[in-house]
Amino acid sequence: MNAVIEARGLKKSYRKTQALNDVSLNVERGRIIGLIGPNGAGKTTLLRALTGLLRVDGELDVLGCHPWSERVKLMRDVAFIADTATLPRWARISQVLDYAQAVHPNFSRERADGFIKQTGIDPRRRIKTLSKGMKVQVHLALVMAIDASLLVLDEPTLGLDILFRKTFYTNLLNDYFDDDRTIIVSTHQIEEIEHILTDVVFINQGQILLDESMETVNERYATVTVKPDQAEAARKLKPIQEQQMLGHHVFLFEDAPMDSLRALGDVSPTRVADLFTAKIQESQT
């Protein structure tokens, strides 16, 4: 079995808000999934359900475990960074590593020490004395030292400057990711991670709007820049989005014949951010 996550009909509501509304998802080993959605879309709820931090209705299997009832077993094989700084403020970095070393069967202290050394941060420092960027670096060093099959990242680079963000994802790819591991990451900064994703999942108001591999996205969606005199012809092919830019019309098409698109103008791959906007607008009409 190659599925890392199998979710069917997940539901979760907070009083009147439906955080997850019949969410189904299949994730296979060796993928990097971008979970993308506006604030309050249900991303954090979904990620916490996957890591057993939150109880949801529906069928959910992560690495052969039911996350809520088998959290301890599951977390031996899953690493998680939440959307807020969660390392204990009072602890020294070395104490956090000591603790992880003592309780985690798949944690390598040697690797963790190596990653911390790379950051240049003194391991005797307390978490509360670190900047936000440093905290994220330390947390990433810690989770990269865990030999986990699934890494769940909830807005891991929120609030960091662009240098930290780039370093974060570069380290993740170079030092962590391989064909046996799976990463699921939620973020607002789509452009920055687009190139590393193998799959994208769009979520809004607790519902999945799109769940495709990047190959499929590139096959099914295309952006065409059209001169004004061709705009009407383009509209007949039922684009899912139209924008005007520098005197040109930019259309986004779904499942349109490529030959017809080429006849209209310049065809280019669709950016995930544009597709996301189009799908959100489509869902609201």
Binding site: Y14, R48, T51, G52, L53, L54, R55, R71, V72, K73, L74, M75, R76, A79, F80, I81, A82, T84, A85, T86, L87, P88, R89, W90, A91, R92, Q95, D98, Y99, A100, A102, V103, H104, P105, H139
Partner: protein, 301 residues
């Protein structure tokens, strides 16, 4: 075993400020008071008058003060520690980190109980033993300075060791006696929505007691609470550390009787035979189970 040790280390790291400051103050007070007490007692002995002439009343008051102080310090320390034990990491968000590691909620809660029921008392025990030694050394030195054979007390340390072993036993019985409080405070700590959990710790039992008094004209809740708070295995044994120092005995006998809990041994064992001990244990375990269950939901909002 390793899991228990790392959980305790984590608690010591996380509470180092409060914990070490409290232990430091406790040690300082015990050392100082024991030394003063020892000199006061030892100063009353002379070769001509092997019976003590020190003011027994003053010495008793001092001893009583130390015993009560340690007891209150210990109780308040536990109250502060347990009420924040499952609350602080929810407040600062680190509960998400702790629960992202393969450690069960039961192990987490058990670590807090171990800390309150074993590690805390162990430090109290060490403080008291050091206090005894200082007091006895001070008595012996002061008595020797007046020509009495003060150090004979160390020639037969059996009684002293017996006292310490018994005191450890009393502290364990105390921990069991307080289990319903540990359970309640940890439960409140795990569910307290906002504000300091101490408020939530006190309000419901007081309200329950008042409602019971109004509705049924009985006071079972208050009686149980009062019996488990005001009466305790170590509270009655502890002050005897000094009260029992009789001044009309020869020095060596007086030293042997300067043991804290010989008078309290029957008292402490008596707790194991009390139905309310076992009712309290059952309530305590039930509340701890609720605390574990509540902990599971602490990252849900």
């Amino acid at each position: 075993m390793n899991l228990a040790l790392i959980q305790i280390r984590r608690e010591l790291w996380g509470n180092r400020g409060n914990f070490y400051i409290m232990i430091g103050i406790l040690f300082a007070i015990i050392v100082l008071a024991s030394a003063v007490f020892g000199i006061a007692v030892g100063g009353g002995f002379t070769p001509a008058h092997p019976t003590g002439a020190a003011s027994s009343e003053g010495v008793a008051m001092l001893g009583l003060g130390i015993g009560n102080f340690i007891f209150l310090f210990y109780a308040l320390g536990l109250l502060g520690y347990l009420s924040g034990a499952l609350y602080d990491d929810r407040k600062d968000g680190s509960v998400l980190f702790w629960r992202s590691l393969p450690v069960s909620d039961t192990a987490t809660v058990a670590g807090k109980v171990l800390m309150a029921g074993i590690v805390g008392p162990l430090f109290v025990w060490i403080a008291v033993v050091i206090g005894h030694l200082i007091a006895l050394f001070a008595i012996a030195t002061a008595a020797s300075a007046r020509g009495a054979e003060g150090f004979t007390v160390f020639a037969s340390p059996g009684a002293l060791f017996g006292t310490w072993v018994f005191f450890a036993y009393a502290l364990l019985i105390q921990a069991l006696w307080w289990l319903p409080y540990y359970g309640w405070l940890l439960f409140v700590s795990a569910i307290s929505p906002r504000g300091h959990p101490l408020i939530w710790a006190f309000l419901p039992p007081v309200l329950a007691g008042v409602v019971e008094m109004i509705a049924f004209r009985t006071s079972v809740v208050f009686q149980f609470l009062a019996s488990h708070l005001a009466v305790s295995p170590i509270f009655n044994g502890w002050p005897a550390v000094t009260i029992n120092t009789s001044m009309d005995q020869p020095l060596t006998e007086s030293m042997a009787s300067a043991n804290p809990l010989y008078t309290g041994s029957g008292w402490v064992s008596h707790f194991l035979a009390m139905p309310s001990m076992w009712i309290g244990l059952a309530i305590g375990l039930g509340l701890l189970a609720l605390a574990v269950a509540a902990r599971r939901y602490s990252a849900t909002s």
